[in-house]
Symmetry: C2
Subunit: 155 residues, 2 copies
């Protein structure tokens, strides 16, 4: 089945690594079979300081609809195994109108963006580069959608 | 600096996803600046049953040199944060002649292959597809090498 819930993934800036771009479009097509799914690369100011991170966060937050269920990737967040994440995600698909994932840039998400999230999600004990984190998240969404739909999905 | 320790990553079969192939060769080149590094895709029998997994394990074990330090990826294994993994890996680079990572196929590693390992390493609480696991491991090796070398490495 295809759920009506819109699922969005918001990133600050363009994906840089060509292999990550390809992987993202691979999963984007597949996820779109299960729900309307989009990856949004927001234009953000360049730079490395705290002010830029704040600005980035504001731009990402402005893109949110009212009443979206926001999940922020955060190393210090909650971790799941794939089955419990699938169950949690299924519950959201059944209840929410829009689910938005926020991924930070190389310096993470601003405090404001983190505070806007209903869930802070950790993908690994390792610190993952944000582009690798994107691939891991996409694969988990695909895995969750397959599990919820009762389709075989092997490692 | 470039360490003399040889680091090998052994997989059963060819990498399938084109974006993972690209990502693997991206990291392979970079890792090779720090130590002699190779990814070996071993030819294994096709199939899904336990006998094939055993056979796969045997082929991977046959590729090991005497005295290699073997690390097997295993969901139920030990997890690290990036800094402690870098410290652990540095210690291996200083002491060992050869470090070998074993990654299982879609059905994981055989018991025999797991038992041959000095360390079972878990990358995430999530079950990762073995090709995504490969990218996560490669990025952590690159991150570890950068940390050990005192180079800046941001998320």
């Amino acid at each position: 089945m295809r759920w009506p819930t819109r699922v969005r993934l918001i990133l600050p800036g363009k994906i840089k690594f060509p292999f990550v771009k390809e992987g993202a479009s691979f999963y984007q097509k597949r996820l779109n079979h299960y729900f309307p799914f989009g990856i949004e690369e927001k234009k953000v100011p360049k730079g490395k300081d705290q002010a830029v991170k704040e600005k980035e966060g504001e731009i990402m937050l402005k893109a949110l609809g009212a009443g979206s269920y926001v999940i922020a990737l955060d190393e210090r967040g909650k971790s799941f195994d794939s089955l419990s994440f699938a169950r949690f995600f299924q519950d959201l698909l059944e209840k929410e109108r829009e689910i938005v994932f926020l991924i930070g840039g190389p310096f993470g998400l601003s405090e404001k963006a983190l505070r806007a999230a209903r869930l802070r999600l950790s993908l690994s004990n390792f610190t993952l580069g944000h582009e690798i984190a994107l691939l891991v998240l996409l694969e988990q969404l695909y895995r969750a959608a397959s599990i919820i739909s009762g389709e075989p999905y092997h490692k």
